[in-house]
């Protein structure tokens, strides 16, 4: 790591001021420290934001739940109320990294984390995301990369919380230029869809404050597939949420992670599922719709049948015994 200054902020205003133009917010530090150690980002100052008041609570009201950006993934995993309200969120949290990572990783950090593409992460390949000339993965080793792309960078979003939050219709509240800005998950990653150098839509200095999840959908589920049984990035992840009334889906939403720079959703699939009785056939049909426009590359075509299976299983898991 390059040398940097360090400060602990006690308010979001001072955090913003301290970070200035070349600083970085330090929450869990898991992603930031890796980036610094490999000289992928530089920061003249690290501003510890873990003391900022009010950002580390899980609260719920009638209309919505609020999860502070500084809530750790382990806290989500341990919270029984969250588990009852949003089983999918619980399931996703439990599979993030390892216990040691979950104990420090924050919701905000998980959403804001940088690309895991091995060309981006490699210190000696200057790819598009690092303002280089080409995407090495496109004609190179792309087994972990996107099936859907909006620009020449094919690195997918890997935040499993983003995948679940998308299915739950959650909104991230971001402090931008001293004002609160609301971003859906789609909006939070739209810039990554458009701009190869972007990991998400956050501007320098933006501070994620909390995530609001509308109460309402009573059922949710999350599944991921990996090479290993634990402590392994998802090859594909899937989150689904819906109400089930008289055996029929109400307000269904399905999102996939690790196959697109943003959580992948297809409105037509959600519309198709609305009001349907969920069974293998409808789940498969929904999966077909979600994956219809997939553009597999040389080594990641396996993600199509894999995603198809996960979508079916996640939907059936949402349905449960209903």
């Amino acid at each position: 790591m390059n040398a940097f200054q360090y400060a602990t902020a006690s308010s979001s205003e001072s955090a913003h001021e301290l970070v200035a133009s070349n600083g970085a917010y330090l929450a869990g530090g898991n992603d930031l420290l890796s980036l610094l150690k490999d000289y992928l980002v530089s920061a003249s100052i690290l501003v510890n934001i873990k003391s900022l008041p009010g950002l580390n609570k899980i609260m719920h009201g009638e209309k919505a739940w609020t999860i502070g950006a500084l809530v750790t993934v382990a806290e989500i995993e341990r919270d029984a109320d969250v588990g009852r309200a949003f089983p999918g969120l619980h399931e996703a949290a439990a599979e993030i990294g390892s216990q040691q990572i979950r104990n420090v990783a924050t919701v905000g950090g998980n959403l804001a984390q940088h690309s895991r593409c091995w060309y981006f992460r490699h210190r000696d390949t200057v790819c598009l995301k690092k303002h280089g000339d080409l995407c090495y993965a496109r004609h190179g080793e792309n087994r972990y990369h996107s099936l859907f792309t909006g620009n020449d960078c094919i690195s997918p979003v890997v935040s499993s919380l983003a995948t679940v939050f998308a299915a739950l219709d959650a909104t991230a509240i971001v402090l931008r230029d001293a004002k609160e800005t609301r971003l859906t998950m789609s909006e939070l990653y739209q810039k990554a869809w458009e701009d190869p150098t972007a990991h998400n839509s956050l501007y320098p200095g933006d501070l994620i404050l909390r995530v609001e999840i509308p109460a309402g959908r009573r059922r949710s589920a999350y599944l991921q597939a990996s090479d290993k049984h634990a402590f392994d990035w998802a090859l594909v992840s899937c989150a689904a949420a819906a109400d089930v009334v008289d055996g029929k889906l109400k307000w269904p939403r399905v999102a996939l992670g690790s196959i697109s720079p943003k959580p992948h959703e297809v409105a037509a699939a959600n519309e198709f599922l609305e009001g349907k009785t969920l069974d293998e056939a409808t789940a498969a049909a929904a999966a077909d719709l979600i994956l219809k426009e997939a553009k597999p590359l040389e080594y990641n075509a396996y993600k199509v049948p894999l995603a198809h299976a996960l979508i079916r299983r996640t939907l059936l898991k949402v349905k449960g015994d209903a």
Binding site: Q5, Y6, S10, S44, G97, Q100
Partner: protein, 216 residues
């Protein structure tokens, strides 16, 4: 063969206070709450570094007073600025668990935590477990079940299992695996780590590693 510490680790209280400025000394003397809070805010938000700064870590119940740059990780501080080499460096990228220590009750990767931000919390390393040389239940179980081979990953596993049993005194095998998924081992001790963890919890493993000797 002399084993010594690599760099000076003490700093003078006087020079530390000097760095705060006259107001600090006055405030401390006055001991008014408001001023102290104001002072704390000012100190909290003051940018320190990038050169070496005084950092005090509470490790295994003792104070470690160091003079280190903010970019020094907790692991680096333990291994290279003190004699606490129990936590190991296996990857320096939060992916192997050899550096697992406890921050409060929580197991974390010391390689991915800045020493400067670990201040004010109770840090426990593997050296802080056995009191007066008496192995803890977990350590004894590791020894008896041979849950170690080269031993390099062992401190990390011992910390993860210790933390788990503190939280869940009677874990299932699945819970042990969940707690230890973030610890890698190349020698292949995993089956016996599982057995040792359950044994330390007073649970006979459902399926102990099984060896049969057959005479040819």
């Amino acid at each position: 063969m002399n084993i010594g510490l690599p760099t000076p680790s003490a700093h003078s209280r006087r020079s530390f206070l000097k760095g705060l400025g006259t107001a600090a000394v006055t405030a401390a003397a006055a001991q008014t709450e408001a001023v102290a809070a104001e002072l704390e805010k000012a100190n909290t938000e003051k940018a320190i570094g990038p050169g070496a700064v005084p950092v005090t870590l509470k490790v295994n119940g003792e104070k470690l007073k160091l003079l280190i740059e903010p970019r020094v990780t907790l692991l680096d501080a333990l291994r290279n600025y003190s004699s606490l080499t129990g936590a190991k460096e296996g990857c320096d990228r939060a992916s192997c668990g050899a550096c697992t220590v406890l921050l409060g009750d929580l197991p974390i990767y010391a390689c991915q935590k800045l020493a400067v931000e670990a201040q004010g919390q109770e840090i426990t390393t593997v050296e802080g477990l056995a009191k007066d040389g008496k192995l803890t239940k977990v350590q004894q179980a590791f020894l008896e079940k041979d849950a170690l081979m080269c031993g390099y990953c062992t401190p990390g596993f011992v910390m993860s299992v210790t933390a788990l049993l503190k939280q869940k005194p009677h874990p299932t095998a699945a819970e042990v695996k969940h707690a230890c998924a973030g610890n890698l081992c190349r020698c292949g001790t995993q089956p016996r780590v599982l057995e040792a963890a359950l044994s330390a919890a007073g649970i006979a493993a459902l399926r102990p590693t099984h060896t049969e000797v057959v005479n040819a």
